[in-house]
Symmetry: none
Subunit: 225 residues, 4 copies
Amino acid sequence: MHSVPPAEGRSSFIEQARQAQIIRATIDVVAEQGYGAASFARIARRASISPALINYHFRTKDSLMRGVLATIEQRLDAAMAGTEDDEPETYPDALEGMLRRFAEHCWTHGEEITAMTEIRREMRSEILREAVAQSHERGMAELVAFIREGQSYGQFRDVDPALFASVLMSAMGEFPRLPGNSAEERRRVAADWVSLFVNAISVTAGPGEDADHDPAGPTRSGSGA
Amino acid sequence: MHSVPPAEGRSSFIEQARQAQIIRATIDVVAEQGYGAASFARIARRASISPALINYHFRTKDSLMRGVLATIEQRLDAAMAGTEDDEPETYPDALEGMLRRFAEHCWTHGEEITAMTEIRREMRSEILREAVAQSHERGMAELVAFIREGQSYGQFRDVDPALFASVLMSAMGEFPRLPGNSAEERRRVAADWVSLFVNAISVTAGPGEDADHDPAGPTRSGSGA
Amino acid sequence: MHSVPPAEGRSSFIEQARQAQIIRATIDVVAEQGYGAASFARIARRASISPALINYHFRTKDSLMRGVLATIEQRLDAAMAGTEDDEPETYPDALEGMLRRFAEHCWTHGEEITAMTEIRREMRSEILREAVAQSHERGMAELVAFIREGQSYGQFRDVDPALFASVLMSAMGEFPRLPGNSAEERRRVAADWVSLFVNAISVTAGPGEDADHDPAGPTRSGSGA
Amino acid sequence: MHSVPPAEGRSSFIEQARQAQIIRATIDVVAEQGYGAASFARIARRASISPALINYHFRTKDSLMRGVLATIEQRLDAAMAGTEDDEPETYPDALEGMLRRFAEHCWTHGEEITAMTEIRREMRSEILREAVAQSHERGMAELVAFIREGQSYGQFRDVDPALFASVLMSAMGEFPRLPGNSAEERRRVAADWVSLFVNAISVTAGPGEDADHDPAGPTRSGSGA
DNA sequence: GATGAATGAGAATTCATTCAT
DNA sequence: CATGAATGAATTCTCATTCAT
């Protein structure tokens, strides 16, 4: 006699509000106390609701975590998209812009990145639950494609793109934990951090100059990160 | 004259063997299924012993994990120490050697690094249990000192050392997960990976040459991280 | 607007019923099999519920026991209060009334007294958990005050009040174990038992008459223990 | 191939020493931390031996506790026997002497009485384990006989002997917990305590004088407590 | 929609006890 | 004699989940 179990996709108005509230509480708890401490009881207390309500809106803990990840990633994607008018001229510039936007996103949404990292790590252990793994793979794939493209124009050094992407991803997961008390310090750290990766993959104009690429290269056009 | 469960310092022969066996099982479970799955029951099943035996050799789960970390770190330290005769001439060379040795250690003991990373992450959330946190801090401190030293000789680019160390540490934690099926592929990945960080912190010999450092610099002497 | 396991103060209707049921089961088990046997498993079996339900209504075993004690003591206090119209004239009469009411309470609630004694004894060994210890101390203090008052009017013999109180308390703890199969026997035993203590502290009218007190003394007025 | 399991009665020299040592440790632990805390592990630690050794000398925990009780009771009996030349003239005097000797025994062996009380209480719950129950019953029986005798000579008031014995026993169990820091205070408390019971059962020379007994009575002869 | 009540599974840990050495 | 090693049973407690209301 109780209402139809919510299908977790489309939903009434209040339904969406509740889901958002629960997801927010989950992010906070995970970021502050770690995945291991993120029980329904603690999340519910944080959100000032009853634990059973979580099960009502997300059938299982798994699906809650999938919801959390989706939310975080979508917000992250939006933040990293950049506006149309600051379309960069070169690949290094594009990378730099991307990383800078990521850093800025972390200033305001650091807990989300922390939570995302924590959840992904936990999920990874359970034989890579599909949905979750895919989101991560997709992110990686985009990065790899972007790097490969830059390399084809000779604007990125010749490193295994998957490897660079992996290093970058793990560094991004750790970024919110970097010190940064004042706005000023945060800005300095971010700048340094960005330069580190841009430098790591930039073509060195050193002695052994790689002459078979056109370092100045054509302007970046497509992209997709 | 007596004994009662071992105080975990001195230990009989068989005692040490069991402890080692339990630690091994723990590493495997943590690396394969994540910290969250590392219950005494699972660890014991893995080691083909009864769960209570773990409590017999390690009074609490905490102390088991401390034992695991200690073992892993000690083995890692040994592996990264390097032999006396390949004392490197420059700081970049030293860094390269260090990372190369780390990568090699990972080929044979990847699960240990994975487990270490996992455990440390868990600990972090639990208000940083002292002993454990310290080991991590010490590692960081050594790295930072090493980098700062290289910078003082103008052999490392001028990046926030703590930041570089942080990025490096997180990348190291992720290293064992990088693909590497054949011996050959592993070697190639490792080389690329090492070059990435050496490059990231190396002084750019690009057009805008930083002339105020002595790039040739004095030969590295002391140090030891 | 929410709830999460009840904070043990306010409570819904069914909540109170369950708590009462659990407390009852605990009293029975403790009285019949001793504190040592009072595990959640046994209590739950007695109450025909699952052990976890006890944890739902009383977060910890400690709080369960505190609840049990509170219930027993409150019931005991009520039973010993006496009605307004039988206000006794002298201290010995007051003592006698008090003890008689206690004995009567034991006829119908003997297991409660037995359980209370058992639990208090257990608590004593655990470094006297405050709340619990206090209740006992308070009971003792009231008794002591009452005795001292009676002594000041020369209606009680000159014995160390704390000592008398201690002996009386331990005897009260043992009372429910006295034989008493028939109603008649119980009445006789109770009468004897009461007289024992009244006698023990009554002023002896023997040959060596203590003349410095006024044995007839003023009528008892205030007090209330 | 290991030596014959010790029959726990007669025994080699060293065997007896060990048993005594274990019993001592058990008494201490029980008296200080309560029966509930008296695990083999704790007892063994206290005695600086291995837990397994307790099982070697006392097949089971039950038999250990029986041994402890036997030891304590035997020592108590000896202490309460009194010397031949201070044979008392009257029953009240005999009672007084008995209680006084008990109190004195408690000054030096209080933990034993405390432990005995604690153990008996625990045992009682387990459907009165025979051996143990018997020892208690025997003690009670002796007391009852003594009181009845005194009553038959009109030297004790006419109270249910079993009841008086019960009250006395519970008070004795509590005696070691009475305050008594200085030797002087202990003496005073003991004197008061003794007088309490002597008074409680003494024939009152009050108005309603019981004339059918010979209050001066014949001198006490047999006795048996 | 939301909650309280209830539960079974599983967590770490302690315990008395056995047995080979 | 004595011990260390080992274990199964039992302990309190937490968790995700279900269901009637």
